[in-house]
Structure formats: structure tokens, C-alpha cells
Symmetry: C2
DNA sequence: TTATTTTGTGCGATATATGAACAAATGTCA
DNA sequence: TGACATTTGTTCATATATCGCACAAAATAA
């Protein structure tokens, strides 16, 4: 791609949108400039553009995103057949298991939820389509990283912030790579409170007919009710069933 | 705002993202140009920028959005306290009612789902945060339109495509305005299969402490199980309970 | 008050959009 | 099949718009 095939004003604007998040619902021009490391004048123009288009509100001091911004992500969710395809199967799975079921894909070092069927809340985190978790310590993340060539998996781990979320969290690259090998061989991943104390989950890959892993699905359960040791016998058959039901639908 | 406070390259890029959707997961440059009514050269630059940043894939012919695009909508969902605040209450509500419960806000002529707790699927449509429905024929839509000044409500209806989705759908502006008046007076809206045959729903507004309606919550149920006439006695008390529980939390 | 931070603006340097021209691919019809 | 017409993608020159700096004004803090 040539230099001039890149619209930097657009790229800068997207960076400004991403500056909003978590504890940053209201951003002043200066704050947004600091977060994005862009010039204040540039950030100001981007924010005013967002406001002019109705993607943001401006009270003269702070900018906040409006729900219109959801149109952008929704363009993906409705444009990609995967979420709509998975949803009914997740509903069914979730009901049979009596636990939350989710589907996600890989984006860099994170997994991104693309569909979810929740039974009551077990996690402290509020997960919705678009939510992100670090791949290295999530059951679906391990399933999505497992099929990658080792060099690529290592590169992703190297870019990941391998944080010790709980005493159980595996943070050693070699250990994780070995775990990926096991996941590849056995076809599932189990997480025992590595992300959050009290939460276990089990995931399997969803492959298309070429055998490429395109997504992962999982079931999460409170460790208090379902010890990690029981996750496999309780939920793996259900997950395999869903996996098998989805296979013929993924012709691509 | 001055002319030069507007970054048109950014605005054009956002328009290109929105061109993706529904049956448009794969767009060629020419298709995207037609949909956005922008110059082919301009669209090409925007799409290549998206690809360069990892928001889109390019196979040399077609562009498709990647899950990274969800970061943009997620910036809103995680930045705005409302979805996270509502979610546990929706879970509770959904469980008590044994039906799906949702929350939405208004964006132009549409309602946008910002949180949802689903029991088994009753609708043919797959609703997730970010999903949109026309406001005029949705229970939450009526609740969100009701508090607006009549002139504003009429303006929105005028911009809406008042489609006869089912034989029950109200499409007459005057009739809808009269219904808004009733909703304002009685504090709830009921939809009896106006969006889709077989689906009833009931909604109430969520106000902040200044009395401004900031969102709506609803319960949807299959008409076969719960006739519209029973929606009120069955679910209105539960909705009012949730509404009351939320009131002190919306200090803003 | 002064000091500090934040926001708004003018301007030259630089980057982008435009529309036409061309090349390549695709489709159409005899 | 081959010749022609269309559509699509790409490139280029130039008119135009944006960027980022420097400074001024305003707001905020000390």
C-alpha cells in the first residue's frame, strides 16, 4: 500500500473513539489528547466531527459517546453470519447446561465475545458482545490460540500482558505453549479460576469445513457449584454436541 | 463550529463502516462507493485504511470487517455506566418473569438495545446490545417517544418508515401520538404483535432523578403463552419494582 | 493575586480529495 | 468463439482541506 492510500484523519478519529472506555465516559479535549498521544487541535477536530455527526455529545467542556456509536460495531455483528448462526445453539446449550454459554473470536491478544446466552450472573464482569478478555487466561482464548503455529502463538503471548489474576493463573509462556499442545490433542480447554476466583470454564473450538478454527464456544460455571474436575464430564459432551451440530452449517 | 473544525476524511470513513451490514458482509470498492455515495477513489482509501489498521480484511477484491471493529461500540458500552447498571436488574427481572428482559435507548428513529437478559428465544430476530428496532412499533420505543414534545415526536415519526409489519401494526401518526399521550399518563406501553406475529411486550421508562427518561426496559413474551390482555397484570408490577429499584441509582 | 492548565485560533507546510484517464477484468451478444 | 461494451480498480496532477505549531484567551488551581 502506498503512503497516499492511507487516510490519517480517519485513523486518528478511530483512535479518539477508542480513547473512550472503562472509566472514561467523559473526556475533555486535553484528556483525549493525552490518551491518544495526538495533537490537541487534531483531537478537538475529531471530537467536534463526532459531535456534529451525532456520535458524541458535547456540553462545551466534556464529550461523551452516544448510542449511535453502536452502529459501527453493529455493522460487524449483523454483517457477519457467525453471531446469528451461533446464538440459537448457545441458547440451547445454556439451557441444557443451566449455565452461561458464550462464543468468541480472536482479535490480537484478546478474545472478543460475539454472542452469549447467560443464565444468572456468576462473574463480576459484565460480558456482552464486544467485550474483551485476555486470551491467555480464558478457556476460549486457549482454544483459539492452540491451533496457531507455535511461533505465532509465542508472538501473541509476547505481546500479552501475562498478569497473575489469581494464584491459579498460568503466566509462563512455555507452560502455556505446552497447554496449547494438550488442547490441540484433546480438543478442549478448561480454566480453573485463572481469570477470577470462583469461576471455572470449559471451551471447544468451532471449525469450518476446511478445519480452520473460526470461533470458540464455552460454558462458565461457579467453582463453588461445579469443581473444575467435574467440568469435563458434566459439560464436554454438551459442548461436543453443539460443536457437531454447527459443523455442517459452516460451509464458507 | 467552523468549517475547518470538521474532519471530512473521518466522517467519510465512518460512513464507509456503516455501509457494511445485514446482507453486506463483503463489499467491493465499487459497491461501497455506491452505498455511501462517495467517490470510488475516496472509498478505496478509507477501506485500505481500515485494512491497514486491522479493522477490515482485504482479499484483493472484497473487504470484510474484523471483530476489531467491535472495539468502537464497546467503547460506548463500557464507558457508559447505564448498561452495566441495568444488567443485574434485568437478570433478576428476567428470572422472576421467566421471560426475556431488555433495556434500550433512543437513537433517531430507532431504539438501540444496550443490555439484555434472555430466557429462551421467542423472536425470530437475534437481539444483542447494539441491535436496533424501529421505535414506533416497539414497546420500549413508545415509552421513549412518549415524553418528547409532540412536535419532536411527530418529526421522528415523519422520518420513520411506518411499515405494516403485521396486521396489528399501528402506522397512523395521529393514532401513535394519541398512544404516546396514553403512555405518558399511564406509565407503560404494551405491544400486541405489532412487530412480529406471536410476540407481545410491555415496557416502562427509566427516569433519572430529574425526571428525564434515559432508557426503557421491557419484558417480551410469546403471545401464545401470554395474551396481550394479561401482560399488564402479569408483568407491570415486576417492571414497576425494577423501575423503583433503579431510581435511586440514577443520580447523574 | 499569580501560576498552571486547558481551550481556541491563525497560518504555513503538508496531506488529502477530486475527477479524469487508463488498465484490467468482467459481462454481453452475434 | 471473438469483438464490443461495461464495470471495476488504480494512478495521477492539482485544487483544496487538514495538520501541528505557536500564540492568545479563558478557565482553574494554588
Amino acid at each position: 500500500m502506498r503512503e497516499t492510500d492511507f487516510v490519517s484523519g480517519f485513523a486518528r478519529g478511530l483512535k479518539v473513539i477508542e480513547a473512550f472506555g472503562e472509566t472514561r465516559q467523559r473526556l475533555s479535549i486535553a484528556e483525549a489528547a493525552k490518551l491518544t498521544e495526538l495533537d490537541r487541535a487534531t483531537v478537538r477536530r475529531s471530537l467536534l466531527t463526532l459531535a456534529e455527526l451525532g456520535y458524541a455529545d458535547y456540553d462545551g467542556k466534556f464529550f461523551t459517546l452516544t448510542p449511535k456509536i453502536l452502529r459501527l460495531g453493529h455493522a460487524y455483528l449483523s454483517a457477519t453470519p457467525l453471531p446469528a448462526l451461533l446464538q440459537p445453539h448457545l441458547d440451547h446449550l445454556s439451557e441444557k447446561a443451566g449455565q452461561s454459554a458464550s462464543a468468541s473470536v480472536l482479535d490480537g491478544t484478546d478474545i472478543v465475545y460475539i454472542a452469549r446466552a447467560s443464565q444468572r450472573r456468576v462473574m463480576s464482569i459484565n460480558l456482552t458482545p464486544g467485550s474483551r478478555l485476555p486470551a491467555y487466561c480464558a478457556s476460549m482464548g486457549r482454544v483459539l490460540l492452540a491451533p496457531l503455529p507455535e511461533s505465532e502463538a509465542r508472538a501473541i503471548l509476547a505481546r500479552s500482558e501475562l498478569k497473575q489474576n489469581t494464584p491459579n493463573t498460568k503466566t509462563d509462556s512455555d507452560e502455556l505453549i505446552a497447554e496449547f499442545r494438550r488442547v490441540r490433542a484433546e480438543g478442549y480447554a478448561i480454566i480453573d479460576q485463572e481469570l477470577e476466583i470462583g469461576l471455572c470454564s470449559i471451551a471447544v473450538p468451532i471449525d469450518n469445513d476446511r478445519g480452520e478454527t473460526v470461533a470458540a464456544i464455552n460454558i462458565g460455571a461457579p467453582a463453588a457449584l461445579v469443581p473444575a474436575a467435574e467440568m469435563k464430564e458434566r459439560y464436554l459432551p454438551l459442548l461436543k454436541e453443539t460443536q457437531a451440530a454447527l459443523r455442517p452449517l459452516l460451509r464458507r
